[in-house]
Assembly symmetry: C2
Homo-oligomer: 300 residues x 2
């Protein structure tokens, strides 16, 4: 869009850090670019860049403006998506920020289902921890977030909340699979493989451990849920995950079962979007599909 050109140029300068570098990226002369920036600042009423000896950096006013630019761009995309929709075109792009647990089974399946009906729609899936996912929504870099136990919940409209009990993951044949119910204290006597503090499962575990006067001393701490699953079979350790990321035990190649609810309360897997934002048609419909799918899981 021609009339958005100035915004594109501003973004290029922000990215490149200097007018001259940005000029190369945008196939313009430094002088032309320089004058567009100056012209915009004049119209806008305030400078939006700090002039440093080594280049340009956004000042606070510029940061505020960048929010506007991002909103502007995504809202235009929304309108175009809606217009395409009323022309019967069914195209669009959906971007999702999600926890790792959704990657192995849930999301691939849901995306395939959606694309079967709407082959013109493309997806981007970004793995984000709980805090980052929310930032992604706020900066309009994701349309939807599907995360376990998010932190802030301001600026977050919850579309659906699915309770998820924390499951212990252990090698087939482990004594942990034998007891009538699985208690946290039994797990703590094994070697522990835990996700890092950024993750909701770890958070719930820490709280639960503290409340029974224990501390968590993991043998292995990792950001990869895959590694957790695979490691427990290597060294007779116990890991923790939420069931949406796990096959049923008889297919999984390792054992897993929920911890007793009195030890550790279920967390919530939340599907949400940025508060008050009108999503593009495709994202909104996919959101509805996810809600239906999550309702199905809850009913089971």
């Amino acid at each position: 869009m021609r009339y958005l050109r100035t915004f594109e140029l501003i973004e290029a300068v922000v990215r490149a850090g200097s007018i001259r570098k940005a000029a190369e990226d945008t196939n313009l002369t430094a002088s032309a670019l320089n004058r567009r920036i100056q012209g915009f600042e004049q119209e806008f009423g305030w400078p939006i860049f700090e002039r440093l000896p080594r280049g340009m950096r956004l000042n606070p006013a510029g940061e505020l403006l960048m929010q506007h630019i991002r909103l502007q761009r995504t809202d235009l995309a929304r309108v175009q998506s809606q217009v395409a929709d009323l022309s019967g075109e069914r195209r669009g792009h959906i971007s999702i920020a999600c926890s790792q647990a959704l990657l192995p089974y849930f999301l691939p399946q849901q995306i395939a289902i959606y694309r079967a009906d709407h082959p013109g729609v493309t997806f981007s899936v970004n793995v984000r921890d709980r805090a980052q996912a929310e930032r992604d929504l706020a900066s309009y870099s994701s349309d939807l977030a599907l995360v376990f136990e998010p932190v802030h919940l301001v600026e977050f409209d919850v579309l659906y909340a699915l309770p998820q009990r924390v499951h212990a993951v252990y090698p087939t044949g482990s004594p942990l699979g034998e007891t009538p119910t699985l208690r946290l204290r039994d797990c703590l006597n094994h070697r522990l493989v835990l996700p890092t503090a950024a993750y909701g499962v770890r958070n719930l575990l820490e709280l639960a451990a503290t409340s029974i006067g224990r501390t968590l001393t993991p043998t292995l701490e990792t950001e990869s849920f895959d590694l957790i699953r695979h490691y427990v079979t290597q060294e007779d350790a116990v890991g923790f995950q939420i069931p949406i990321g796990l096959k049923p035990p008889h297919e999984a190649g390792f054992g897993h079962r929920p911890l007793a609810e009195r030890d550790i309360p279920p967390g919530q897997l939340l599907l949400g979007q940025m508060k008050g934002r009108a999503l593009p048609v495709a994202s909104s419909k996919f959101g509805q599909q996810l809600v239906a799918a999550l309702e199905g899981l809850a009913a089971r």
Copy 2:
């Protein structure tokens, strides 16, 4: 803003209904304007106007685009207001859609208080009935709405709700002022001066009358609350208002008192904004002041 020029022109065409008329309004030639519209449609990817023999009208895509244009404009205003604020300038403009009852005392007082601290801030106050006020918020033509008993409440974030009992207004010395409590049935035996159906007071009265098997047959029906107040003293009639628009009886020059709550439940005076919208700094602060003022009224 230069880069918004195309949007201004589109809006001018929408308002004028034809390119040629819009061209006069915008000091352009019809041909130049025509080509800008065509150019935009080309970039946008779809036509946004229907070409009729007598002029131009927005098509559905155009309607969607107009939403974007309005959001874009007000969000830019918000950014500029925030930038002005961080430059310590304390300027801005606040637009309010409100019920008539707020005009005589409440709003003038609140605006004066605010402007005493922030003389650079200007106001626009638009009298709107309950449905229109909400449309104003949705189209970004007002920042805040202060209305009695709004209709939809979708797209509406309630900042504060003040219960308001319906008061009967009657001439000084009327027998209505004598009874221990004021019953609706007593009022209905007098000549009635009522607001039109668009107003919340009328709505509450209709419901209450129906529930005691009576109907309302007004002598005078009007959209002017002022007229209601002044007419009751002319012909020994009874009118109805909410107290926020009334002086205390001993100063008012006429009598008024609340109707019994068992006859007619209190309505709500709602202060709100459009759902999820980030208001400009000035509007947001004025909103906070109004909340505080309304809390003060509720405590009395």
